[in-house]
Amino acid sequence: MNSPNGYRRESSGGHPPYDNPAYASTHKRAPRNAPVRLEHTLSEITGPRFAGDLPAPGEDDLTHFDGGEALGERIIVTGRVLDEDGRAIPHTVIEIWQANAAGRYAHAEDRHEAPLDPYFAGIGRVITDTQGAYRFMTVKPGAYPWRNHHNAWRPNHIHFSLFGPSFATRLITQMYFPGDPLLDLDPIFNSVPDRSARERLIAKFDIEVTIPEYALGYRFDFVIRGREATPTPG
């Protein structure tokens, strides 16, 4: 039986290593053994789809929750999910979570002494259209302190989880904002070795996306792995 081709590998320098001395939580969690390279089989070139559990109307608007409107600077985030060959990835679910405008997550374990916003849950989902495009509205998340080192602060960021077409293309990442002075100081952002790769995590302000009198617009594309040009060996 012939199998469809496998997927290309992680670009070198384009992803963080597991072990990162500047990020304390990696110290006891990063494996000591190098991962064993696995030639792609059916297990990796297939992958989950969200059958029957697709985003509902309203899940693309984080600014309204529980009958009220969230505080903060309203923003639109839009872009496309593409693979390395520039092909659109349609019908893939993107899950979204973030802190509120004050830098506090609606999460029991977040002890940061910043106010919760009763009208902001910080959770959303979208699905890409036939062109691979997505769009949602939220408020700009605040920066927040963490205990990684003295006076450590996370830059403004939004968390994203997406699947793409296969097990091999699974991606969880964070999007940052242009001009944030905390970026240079953040061990998580700087865990990506290549500067140019890191900068791909920064959204671009776009006046064309901006809605007059209402919300600032940002563009952010996700690029997941493309397919190998030749069939997978055994």
Partner: protein, 190 residues
Amino acid sequence: MSPLQTPSQTVGPFFKPALIRSGNESLVTSNSRGERITIEGRILDGDAAGISDAMIELWQANADGRYDHPDDLQEKLIDPEFHGFGRAATDELGRFRFHTIKPGSATGPGNLLHAPHINVSIFARGLLKRLVTRIYFPGEQLNATDPVLNTVAPGRRSTLIARIENADQPGILRFDIVLQGENETVFFDV
């Protein structure tokens, strides 16, 4: 110019309200085909402490060894009652539990039968990108010839094979995931 990959970043500690929904730890309905199994275990760090803020995802074939995906070209039946994806968070002791079925064998190139296995992704604070491992089954003849299991050093293969802890409950399989240190689980670069 071709676009370049978006780098991975950690899932962080605050993902549960967004990503974890009760019920996603069960991959089966009452009508799914196949032998019911429960997979339970803990995720442990380099101090052998349970990791309470991890997320685990399973991806597996159905009872016939067929993945619910258009790129699986095997001439085997799809099971409309089994899609093969599950997700769970660990609890305060680092424990997780899934309800699923034992997958069948998928056929690889050269008509080689792969040993039944479940593909696993692990995400957590402190993991800047996911870890990938596989759960294999004890006492499977095909384990001896599985092309992936055979790329792993023999002394470490046992970390990939679930255990039956209680012979009276052969449907309950134990699979601990050790991120670091002695008996470190084998992880794969996919």
